[in-house]
């Protein structure tokens, strides 16, 4: 099987003045194409740190991260940015839409940065996607005029508009109520099924695991285990045994 992401023996330390905070300690993880992978773990366990490394917004202190065949530690800032633009889509916990742009413009933004499509092609693709995530009628609205769930749909559309191989989502449902959260997860799962896009998302919401093809459990910056969704759900809680 082809690995779109390959994390091998990675450590990440943060320097807080004199103190060195080890956020990840010898993490190894392979993600196959088309997976819908959940990363679970308590607060401070290193989920965001791991996603940052995979998402090429940070590089490891030790070990290697390979994304789409490229080892990120060896890429320049420019190349990392390019990799993010063309290969990766981001969905943020707090949506991170550009407040001064309309829904349509927000979604179009990555395409503009890519400079690959004509205006008409861009428009078609954006509108089709907005249709797909169910907010086409809001295309002219500003993000501030939308509800949290609608905003997250815009964020999903923006992450998917470049048809990336890999979509990363850091706690995509944390700021949503449970019904909306479920809808969003359904949408993500649907896109994962139809487009064969690989999804990696972090969460500490146990209900979310059911959607995942597999759950990687983190604790104290280390991979505890990698289990199937059923197993994780059956375990009924986090690796430390604390239910959420």
């Amino acid at each position: 099987m082809n690995h779109i992401v390959s994390v091998s023996n990675v450590s990440k330390n943060y320097n807080l003045g004199q103190v060195v905070v080890p956020a990840l300690r010898g993490v190894s993880l392979d993600v196959a194409e088309g997976e819908f992978l959940a990363i679970a773990g308590p607060s401070g366990s290193g989920k965001t740190t791991l996603l940052n490394l995979v998402g090429c917004v940070d590089t490891p202190s030790a070990g290697t991260v390979t994304v789409d065949g490229k080892q990120t530690g060896q890429l320049s800032e420019r190349d990392l940015t390019r990799l993010r633009l063309h290969t990766i889509g981001f969905i943020f916990q707090s949506f991170n839409l550009v407040s001064v742009l309309s829904v349509l413009q927000n979604v179009e933004l990555p395409l503009l940065l890519q400079r690959a499509l004509s205006a008409r092609e861009r428009r078609e693709r954006v509108l089709a996607l907005l249709d797909r995530v169910g907010i086409r009628e809001y295309s002219k609205h500003r993000p501030s005029e939308l509800s949290g769930g609608q905003r997250q749909r815009v964020a999903i559309a923006r992450a998917l508009v470049t048809r990336p191989k890999l979509v990363l989502a850091d706690e995509p449902t944390a700021n949503l109520d449970s019904v909306t959260g479920t809808n969003i997860l359904n949408l993500m799962k649907e896109l994962n099924q139809s487009e064969k896009t690989t999804f990696i998302f972090s969460t500490h919401d146990a209900r979310v695991w059911a959607y995942a093809s597999a759950v990687v459990r983190l604790a104290d910056g280390q991979v505890q285990d990698r289990v199937s969704a059923e197993e994780a759900v059956r375990a009924g809680g986090l690796p430390t045994g604390r239910p959420v």
Partner: protein, 704 residues
């Protein structure tokens, strides 16, 4: 390419939306930029206009484009606007013909005008002296049997009138100041002059009385003002041709080949005109040209007060007939029964805003025709005394041919302080050895059978010592000759000769102190200056050539000064603008860290963010800069249509006329926009660097 444009569009969109989102900040920054660019447009347009008009004034009046003088000179040449009245000490250039030839050989030179600057104090007769001389003449003719009885009686009456005026004046002074202000001798003299004994025997034997009056009474009048005249010796024809703003007002130009003097109209008005009339003119100007009112202007009130108290000047001019005529006219005008003309005049000159215009007209229509308005009239002979280079007093008697102005600069004393004189007379006053004088010296030497006359001998014979004791004699042929001339020929002879014509060729042959150069292409002045100095060196005439700016001294530097002030204030404003724009952008950047992080995370390169901030800064700059420039252009347009009035004579000169009509040139707007763009670009550098350093991880860390 298309994609590039679209990216630019989205950058612009984000930038503009951001600007709009923080409107208040944008407005503050924009306001400063607007003001800055407005200042640049209006300021540079004004300074450019003043520069252009002033250069017209300077170039068109005396300086020409370039002034040339000997590089051996002690002083630097300034032809106008010098603070002190001393003329600069220049070494003469001996052969003007050679100088002209050399200068005309330089490519860009169109015309050369010979010049020399000097000054003299001139006594323009005391009214009493003039009247007494007339009376003496009439008395002589009457005794010789001519029929001049009526004129004689009238003149005698005039003298008695004068004595009365002077006595009354002395009484006044004693009353106002104190008993001792007038000496007992003067009082006694006045009493004697008024006494019947003096006049009883006058018809029989007028001479002792006349002598007494001339010696004791005339000096009491003390209105024998000294005229301080700065004059320019030149070739009248060449001058008029090269400085075509020069226009004759009264009389004629100095005819070719004639010696003569032209008063600058300004000097003629200010120094030669009856003071009372001059003050009336000034009051009139103040009201009509500068919209002042007597009620509110202390200056006008002061002039009125002077006119009211100083009627003596007019009284001295009135003989019996005129006194009667004035009494009748003034009584009628004022509706008064007063018989004392001095009091009537005082009353007449006590004007207010309501009656000024009428009285002003009355003065010129009715009173002035009976007065000598100018102490020196066109056609009179003027004796000019001046120190020569070697320190002797030299004097020349010249006919006053007329008065002149520089068109558009009529009211400017800077352009009007120079009078004109023919070059030949100038050389004489200056003490040059003209060919004519060289010949004369030779004749005298032959006549006297002398080979050599030493300076000491000559001086001992006539003066005992030079007029300026400390001036060291220079061992020049001219000085020797001058000494000879003084000792043997005497002054009278040369004064007589001064009214005789000269050979125009003489103009060319003699020396000059400096010369004005008119060029064909004024844009190449600095190049031409170098060429002139090089040509001079080659021809063996060591020359210094200076621009009109330099030649016009402080006046020429005035615009440079204003420009400096303008540029410094523009610099300060834009420095402030730079700091404020920078701060605003830095704050905006810090506020938008998550957004910038997000953009970076989804694949925006650093230069995208740099572009975003640049566009943001430039958009504010262009928008408000253009608004400012537009507003500035509007202001310049309005000012240009209305004109800025020249409220004093320095402005008058700078404006080259009564009003400055500034106009806008594309350069003014371009400079303003260029500065605005540069400042905007520079001010976005630091926030740009900050934005570039924002990590895409910022996007992930916005947990709220």
């Amino acid at each position: 390419m298309r994609g590039y444009l679209d990216t630019l569009k989205v950058i612009a969109l984000i930038a503009l939306r951001n600007l709009f989102a923080s409107r208040l900040k944008t407005l503050i920054v924009g306001g400063i930029i607007l003001f800055g660019s407005l200042l640049v447009v209006v300021g540079t347009a004004l300074v450019d206009s003043v520069d252009a008009s002033m250069s017209r004034s300077v170039i068109g009046s005396v300086a020409g484009h370039i002034q040339v003088y000997s590089s051996k000179s002690k002083d630097e040449l300034t032809v106008m606007g010098g603070m002190n009245m001393e003329s600069p000490d220049l070494t003469p250039i001996d052969d003007f013909a050679a100088l002209r030839r050399t200068l005309l050989g330089v490519p860009n030179v169109k015309a050369v005008v010979p010049m020399g600057l000097s000054s003299a104090i001139v006594t323009a007769g005391n009214t009493v002296d003039v009247v007494l001389e007339r009376l003496r003449d009439l008395a002589r003719r009457r005794l010789a049997g001519e029929d001049v009885q009526a004129a004689y009686e009238s003149e005698k009456d005039h003298v008695r009138q004068i004595i009365k005026v002077l006595s009354a004046d002395m009484d006044n002074v004693r009353k106002i100041q104190n008993e001792k202000a007038i000496s007992q001798d003067d009082l006694a003299a006045a009493a004697k002059a008024a006494s019947e004994e003096l006049w009883a025997g006058f018809d029989r034997d007028p001479y002792p009385a006349l002598e007494f009056l001339e010696n004791r009474i005339a000096p009491l009048a003390s209105d024998a003002d000294m005229l301080f005249l700065r004059y320019l010796g030149t070739d009248g024809d060449a001058f008029a041709k090269s400085f075509d703003r020069m226009k004759i007002v009264d009389g004629t130009a100095i005819p070719r080949g004639q010696r003569g003097f032209l008063f600058s109209k300004w000097v003629y008005e200010q120094q030669v005109k009856l003071k009372t009339a001059l003050r009336l003119d000034r009051i009139n100007d103040g009201i009509s040209k500068r919209s002042k009112t007597i009620a509110r202007s202390e200056e006008l009130q002061r002039w009125i007060k002077q006119n009211v108290t100083e009627v003596k000047e007019i009284m001295l001019q009135l003989d019996g007939q005129k006194t009667a005529s004035f009494r009748r006219l003034l009584q009628g005008e004022l509706g008064s029964q007063q018989s004392d003309v001095a009091k009537l005049l005082s009353e007449f000159f006590r004007v207010d805003d309501a009656n000024f215009a009428h009285r002003y007209r009355f003065f010129y229509d009715k009173l002035a025709p009976q007065l000598e308005l100018y102490r020196v009239r066109v056609g009179d002979m003027l004796t000019i005394k001046s120190f020569t280079r070697s320190g002797y007093v030299q004097s020349v008697k010249l006919r006053v041919y007329g008065t002149f102005v520089f068109e558009g600069l009529e009211d400017s004393h800077i352009a009007g302080e120079l009078n004109l004189m023919d070059m030949v007379s100038f050389r004489e006053l200056y003490g040059s050895l003209t060919p004519e004088r060289a010949r004369e010296v030779q004749e005298i030497k032959t006549m006297a059978g002398m080979k050599e006359v030493s300076r000491e001998q000559a001086e001992a014979e006539l003066f005992g010592k030079p007029d300026l004791g400390e001036t060291a004699p220079i061992g020049r042929a001219g000085d020797e000759a001058e000494a000879v001339l003084r000792s043997l020929a005497g002054r009278q002879q040369r004064e007589d000769r001064a009214s005789q014509p000269y050979d125009p060729a003489q103009l060319e042959q003699g020396d000059v102190l400096n010369a004005a150069v008119i060029v064909k292409d004024p844009r190449r002045i600095s190049r031409t200056i170098k060429d002139i100095e090089a040509a001079g060196a080659k021809a063996g005439i060591p020359l210094r050539a200076i621009t009109w700016q330099k030649a016009s001294g402080l006046v020429g530097q005035f615009v440079t000064m204003i420009r400096a002030v303008l540029y410094i204030s523009v610099l300060i404003i834009f420095a402030v603008a730079l700091v404020i724009i920078n701060n605003a952008l830095v704050m905006a950047t810090l506020e938008r860290m998550p957004e910038i992080g997000t953009l970076r995370a989804i694949g925006a390169q650093r230069r995208f963010l740099l572009g975003m901030l640049l566009v943001e800064a430039l958009a504010v700059g262009v928008l408000f800069g253009s608004l400012g420039a537009l507003l500035g252009a509007g202001i310049v347009g309005v000012i240009g249509a209305a004109g800025i009035p020249a409220s004093n004579d320095i402005l008058y000169f700078l404006f080259s006329g009564p009003r400055l009509h500034p106009s806008l040139s594309p350069a003014n707007v371009i400079i303003s926009l260029a500065i605005v763009l540069a400042v905007s670009a520079i001010s976005s550098i630091y926030p740009g660097l900050l934005a570039m350093r924002v990590s895409p991880r910022q996007a992930m860390q916005s947990d709220d």
